[in-house]
């Protein structure tokens, strides 16, 4: 008989996330994967600066909180010193694709044997809804009040496509948590990204399209639609690299 319940690595702790926030689902998936792979006791995670900064309150494993955008560099430092440990970063779109652009690209290109969970909610959640590098054209944010694109902001950056040109990268997949099927698929991808690290294959990144009802100023249900109808066409799901 199947039981669906909170996996042990997730502490019995209420999260600080808003109702309907995709971070909660992404957390669960990462936690389940770690538990299923039996690697909790040799896993070291990084917390980003972003809504997930308090990640260590929810995961029962070693965690280091990094300066905004620098998780890949910090993870590099850890993994090189302890190659037998499983090191993952968990980063938002501002963290990974704006201030952390250089660290992301170079860690990826070096082929650091780490796993990156990239939660793309097309917005700066924690700071209250400013434009992110992945904000879509026309999307209204507190810093693009007439919609992105009108004042030379350029189009959204597509991280998987960008990184796919780098020789050092092993595995890239874009997933979502906006339907049950997507959630299952995201879990498969995350598991693969961790397995790659266990197998010593190098840099793996799973992008997760995720809801931010609060800063999108939508209800949770509308947020799910937003991901499915607005984000997926711009950020097509799928495998971008798998070597």
């Amino acid at each position: 008989m199947a039981v669906f319940k909170r996996t042990p690595i997730l502490k019995d702790q209420l999260t600080h996330y808003c109702p309907g926030c995709g971070h909660g689902i992404a957390h669960r998936l990462v936690a389940e994967v770690i538990d299923e792979l039996g690697i909790r006791e040799r896993t070291i995670g990084t917390a980003p600066v972003g809504c997930a900064v308090l990640l260590y309150n929810y995961f029962n494993c070693d965690v280091i909180e990094c300066a905004h955008g620098r998780s890949p560099a910090v993870a590099t430092g850890i993994k090189r010193v302890q190659p037998d440990k499983i090191v993952f970063t968990y980063q938002g779109d501002g963290d990974l694709a704006a201030i952390g652009t250089a660290e992301t690209i170079h860690a990826a290109n070096r082929g650091e044997n780490i796993t990156v969970i990239f939660v793309n909610n097309a917005i700066y959640g924690m700071t209250g809804g400013q434009m992110a590098p992945t904000t879509m054209l026309g999307q209204v944010t507190t810093t693009t009040q007439h919609g992105r694109g009108g004042q030379g902001e350029g189009p959204p950056i597509k991280v998987c496509e960008l990184l796919s040109t780098l020789g050092g990268v092993c595995y890239l997949e874009r997933t979502a948590v906006s339907t049950p099927k997507d959630v299952m698929n995201a879990k498969r991808a995350i598991k693969k990204a961790f397995q790659n690290q266990i197998d010593g294959k190098g840099f793996s990144l799973v992008e997760v399209l995720s809801m931010c009802p609060t800063d999108w100023k939508l209800s949770p249900a509308q947020s799910v639609d937003f991901v499915n109808e607005k984000m997926k066409p711009v950020f097509p799901l799928g495998v971008y690299k798998d070597q």
Partner: protein, 76 residues
């Protein structure tokens, strides 16, 4: 036998479980939890198939489902 249990104190009332229940067997309660939020309740106590979709979509792991189906824990 399928059994669904809500940890209502964890629930934030987002309604995603309601939205995604394929049997449309959930609704948000009229009463509020400690946080002042509605939480899900079953409409028909026997209507649940134990598919686990509500669990899967819940951002707050506020639902536990015992399902008659195959393997446990949504494993892959």
């Amino acid at each position: 036998m399928t059994k669904i249990r809500f940890e209502t104190h964890r629930c934030k009332g987002c309604g995603l479980c309601v939205l995604f229940c394929p049997r449309k067997n959930l609704r948000l309660s009229d009463s509020l939890n400690e946080q002042g939020l509605s939480y899900p309740e079953e409409i028909d106590p026997d209507g649940c198939t134990g598919c686990g979709l509500c669990f899967r979509m819940c951002p707050d792991t506020a639902i536990e489902v015992q399902s008659p189906k195959k393997d446990n824990q949504d494993k892959q």
